[in-house]
């Protein structure tokens, strides 16, 4: 369990992180999301004790990081950004060094090293010199070293950056496994990663928390309206009257033709409305052949862009969202079945293929 209270960090005149508070329980994975330079790394460095906060405090498994640094740090596993390792050491040797550095008692060292090596799939490279390893392997060595001493809290700074897609999948699986029994915090700017891994998300921009909640909550409470993707073949071959007819339906806000596929339309509608039935009836009435109809919630990506580009008045979206997330906790059980089906529809969507990786 890790708790941060009012973390603030100033570098001279620049306030890199401002009043960040949160709590992460055992078995929970928290994602720290934000554009580059938002203060993610600074926040994580304060959580690990590498940077002392200008203001605020961090408690790791009940130990204050500033008052009892040695005890608190023993409960902490940390994978820094750009995984720093000693290039001249061999993998097994490096892990042995880290085990001693973490003050693991002598007889527990070898079993812990073996466990980390097999857990991070490092068996075949354990006698190689770290400097000769590929980036993916180095990342895994860093991760193995971070979990070696069985820390209760694991902090990973952009664990999948610079990896190939296959390596990303294996690292993500590993992270998910690791998160089952410990408290895990990871930072990233890759949104699908957050959707796949994290139970809770903290969106940070310009040093402040601008949104917090489960990925589903955040999606459910964004100001962006849901979208219906409809593909149809009209017998008379015209699309213009389809836009008109669709817009006339109840609850529709804006309908536009999707440029990539003829006959595909994107229809934004108000959040509470479900115009799928009326779209179907309209199609029957007009004699259109309906090829596709899928509903999608605004993705975390759109929400992220919306939140982080709200320049000028940062108080407004923050206020709107904090209100939203408190509502979200109360209504969490009910809308969950409303969110689930959207995820099922999701694969039909072309958007899904555009994973930034």
């Amino acid at each position: 369990m890790i708790e941060a209270r009012g973390l603030t960090r100033r570098f001279g005149d620049l306030t890199a992180v401002r009043d960040v508070s949160f709590q992460v329980e055992d078995g929970e994975i928290l994602g720290l999301l934000g554009p580059n330079g938002a203060g993610k790394t600074t926040t994580l460095r304060m959580l690990t004790g590498f940077l002392p906060p200008t203001d605020g405090s961090v408690t790791i498994a009940g130990h204050d990081l500033l008052d009892e640094p040695a005890v608190a740090r023993r409960e902490l596993g940390y994978l820094p950004e750009n995984v720093a390792l000693y290039p001249e050491m061999r993998v097994a040797e490096y892990l042995a060094f880290r085990a001693r550095l973490a003050r693991l008692p002598g007889r527990e060292r070898q079993p812990a090293i073996d466990r980390a090596i097999s857990g991070c799939l490092l068996g075949e490279v354990k006698d190689q010199i770290i400097g000769t390893l590929s980036k993916g392997y180095r990342q895994r060595v860093g991760l193995a070293a971070a979990i070696l001493h069985g820390p209760k809290v694991l902090i990973l700074d952009e664990p999948t950056v610079g990896l190939d897609p296959k390596q990303i999948i294996s690292i993500r699986e590993l992270i998910r496994d690791l998160g089952r029994e410990r408290t895990l915090i990871l930072s990233t700017h890759i949104l699908p990663e957050v959707e796949q891994l994290c139970q809770r998300v903290l969106i940070i921009d310009r040093g402040r928390v601008i949104a917090e909640g489960t990925p589903a909550e955040l999606q459910g409470h964004s100001d962006l309206s849901p979208e219906l993707v409809v593909t149809l073949v009209a017998s008379d071959g015209t699309g213009a009257d389809a836009i008109e007819a669709l817009t006339a339906l109840e609850g529709m806000q804006h309908v536009s033709a999707d440029g990539s596929v003829t006959g595909r339309f994107r229809a934004r509608h108000v959040r509470d409305a479900d115009p799928r039935e009326s779209v179907f009836r309209l199609a029957v009435e007009r004699g259109w052949t309906l090829l596709e109809m899928s509903q999608r919630r605004p993705s975390l990506e759109e929400l992220f862009v919306q939140l982080t580009t709200a320049q000028g008045e940062p108080t407004e979206p923050a206020g709107a969202l904090s209100q939203g997330s408190s509502e979200g906790v109360a209504s969490e059980t009910e809308p969950s079945d409303e969110v689930e089906p959207t995820d099922d529809v999701e694969p039909a969507n072309a958007e899904k293929g555009e994973d930034p990786q």
Partner: protein, 246 residues
């Protein structure tokens, strides 16, 4: 303690796998070999004064000062700056190891490497002993001076390394700080007033080594080395800590 030993061991290993260490020891032994040549030619000179021990040369010659000035910054320059550049400092400082332990482990490793460099020179008196008498008293006090001055300059070098991200900058800064130590007696000669001249005179490193090599062990000098070492190690710890705040 286990994390201290782990780091000490890693540092020592890092010395012996790096080509720099072997280049440094080659340079070192070459220069010390020249000292040995001088000792041998001194001994084979029939005009040489009988009572002077030839090992004065090993500890006071131009070659001694060259190795001290050039080798100590090379030993220490990478110690902290390399970790800062590569980011491994973050791992050390987030481990249960304290800043003080980290600095001490690095200093001990540098000190052990310094001793390793000097170890082969013990062969010189051993070789000479087969052909002539060797007075081991002045020889061992000379080595005491080597350890004292070495620890002082290694601490200065570690401090230089602690605030620079670049090894060359670290070495250059160390070099500049070392120069101040050598300039102290020169300040003394400029000073007016007997007390000042006396104070600056105490810090004259060249005369220190002359005395050590003759077998004169002055505890004030040892205290001077130890306190200077302690001061610079303390400054290093503070520099490592202070970097976190900026």
């Amino acid at each position: 303690m286990s994390s201290f030993l782990a780091l000490l061991q890693r540092e020592l290993r890092a010395y012996f796998v790096s080509p720099l260490a072997w280049a440094v020891s080659t340079f070192f032994l070459f220069v010390q070999g020249l000292s040995f040549l001088m000792i041998v030619s001194f001994l084979s000179d029939p005009r040489a004064a009988g009572e002077v021990t030839p090992f004065v040369i090993l500890f006071t010659s131009f070659f001694f000062w060259i190795t001290l000035i050039f080798v100590t910054p090379m030993i220490t320059m990478r110690l902290v700056s390399e970790e800062r550049r590569s980011g491994t400092l973050e791992i050390l400082l987030t481990s249960p190891l304290s800043e003080t332990q980290m600095v001490l482990a690095k200093f001990c490793a540098a000190m052990i490497f310094w001793c390793f460099l000097w170890l082969p020179t013990v062969l010189y008196p051993l070789i000479i002993e087969r052909y002539s008498d060797v007075d081991w008293g002045p020889v061992s006090s000379g080595y005491l001076g080597v350890l004292g001055l070495g620890s002082m300059f290694l601490a200065v070098g570690l401090f230089g390394s602690s605030f620079a991200k670049n090894q060359i900058v670290a070495a250059a800064a160390t070099f500049a700080m070392m120069m101040v130590f050598f300039l102290v007696p020169w300040f003394g000669s400029l000073a007016t007033g007997e007390t000042l001249q006396l104070v600056f005179g105490y810090a004259d490193l060249l005369s220190h080594m002359e005395d050590f090599s003759k077998g004169i062990v002055d505890s004030r000098r040892l205290v001077y080395y130890l306190t200077t070492t302690a001061l610079f190690l303390f400054l290093t710890v503070r520099a490592v800590e202070a970097k976190k705040w900026r």
